[in-house]
């Protein structure tokens, strides 16, 4: 239950938006500086509210458009009931709540998910093929950025030069695959952003990083070592590369060149190293004091080690 003033105000707003439905059990699931996720029931139907304060660099209404298009295209996503921006700049989405687990370590280790684990790599390949087949002309506001350039700028802005990251940056520039057809890219397709049930993948969530780009980016990111959460198999800690590629192609995805996926896996590992430096700097600059964020700064060397492992024989 949520008895605070914020909760009361939200309940009133939700009831008005949902045809005077009775709102029960409103509680916050997670929240950051600019974005919050709440769960509630409207006339007994479990729903999710995501809201974003004015001024966030990402536009939640673009994300809402992507979720709507993905649902129409047969990708597993929660149904979108409403999305709008209020006069005060606050943007929000109301989505169907889907039962299941999002915590990666549970999905990878709990007995409840043993059957799901044997299916998930196939489910991921199928879902990605559907996402990449969506007609991007029907989705507004998608950006396409050069990620090597973007994260180089982030790294330079942090003022903590890392020789290993420069070495890998040179490799990324020298071996960059030719640009192919740009598709919708989820942008953060990994355990943690999936709702998984005993029967396998139920929904892909957290579309805020969706953009236009090389579809192989999603396949490579799914294989980054950090997203194996300590498990051995390369694809999300769950399965083999060839299983993912076969499922993707069978569901209508473009033929996969493993060399290109490997490039994106290296790019993803490099990018995650930069993001670890960034997270520690959030603590160090005082934006959010947290020993958890501080400790992430000492994980940069894990990524550097992973980069050496991923590039062994490829330099």
């Amino acid at each position: 239950m949520e008895s605070s003033a914020v909760g009361t105000e939200l309940s009133t707003m939700l009831s008005q938006l949902l045809d005077d439905a009775e709102i029960h059990g409103l509680h916050r699931l997670s929240g950051g500086a600019s974005r919050e996720t709440w769960r509630f029931e409207a006339d007994g139907r479990p729903l999710i509210l995501q809201r974003q304060r004015a001024g966030d660099e990402r536009d939640m209404l673009i994300e809402a458009g992507v979720v709507r298009a993905a649902g129409r295209g047969g990708a597993p996503v929660p149904a979108l009931l409403d999305a709008r921006r209020r006069d005060d700049g606050m943007a929000f989405m109301i989505l169907e709540a889907i039962d299941g687990e999002t915590i990666a370590r549970k999905i990878l280790r709990d007995d409840d998910f043993a059957d799901a684990r044997s299916r998930l790599v196939g489910d991921f390949g199928t879902a990605l093929a559907r996402i990449h087949a969506l007609d991007v002309a029907t989705i507004s506001g998608l950006q396409q950025t050069d990620q090597v350039q973007y994260y180089t700028d982030v790294l330079d802005g942090l003022g903590q030069p890392h020789p290993v990251l420069e070495l890998v940056r040179n490799w990324l520039i020298d071996t960059r695959p030719p640009a192919g057809r740009a598709t919708l890219v989820h942008g953060d397709f990994r355990l943690g952003n999936m709702i998984v049930g005993r029967d396998g993948l139920r929904a892909v969530i957290d579309w805020e990083l969706a953009h236009l780009g090389d579809p192989m980016e999603d396949l490579g990111w799914l294989c980054v070592k950090a997203w194996r959460f300590g498990a051995t198999p390369p694809v999300a800690g769950l399965g083999r590369y060839d299983e993912l590629f076969a499922a993707y192609e069978e569901a209508g995805g473009a033929p996969v060149d493993p060399v290109v996926v490997h490039w994106w896996e290296v790019l993803g590992t490099w990018k995650w190293a930069v993001m670890c430096i960034l997270q520690a700097s959030v603590h160090l600059t005082g934006a959010a004091r947290s020993h958890e964020l501080a400790a992430i700064g000492r994980r940069v060397c894990e990524n550097e080690y992973d980069l050496f492992a991923a590039l062994e024989g490829h330099w």
Binding site: V164, E166, L167, E292, A295, Y305, W315
Partner: protein, 116 residues
Amino acid sequence: MTAPHDAPNANELLEAVREWIDRELIPGTEGRLRFHARVAANVLGIVEREIELGPGQAAAHEARLARLGVGSDAELAAAIRRRDFDDRADELRALLLESVLDKLAVANPRYVTGAG
């Protein structure tokens, strides 16, 4: 002990707090608080290892930088971006891997064996 301080030394103090977190705080908590207690114990472990290994690692790092003819990681990073080391690639990679392994020996020694 480092004069003029009394025992326990810095490392022994950190160890004492870390043992308390592991033995009493973590079993007595759950959820987010338990996770953050684990992170805290882990951070103290990093500091303990850095106190122990740091001085030797700093000297080894100086020697690596000297071998490459640069004065700092910042200089080295800039030189790599300028492609100054393209003709010494094997040597550079071997030295950089040594640095990474030293950092891991402090930050997460189990990572290299796959257990971390």
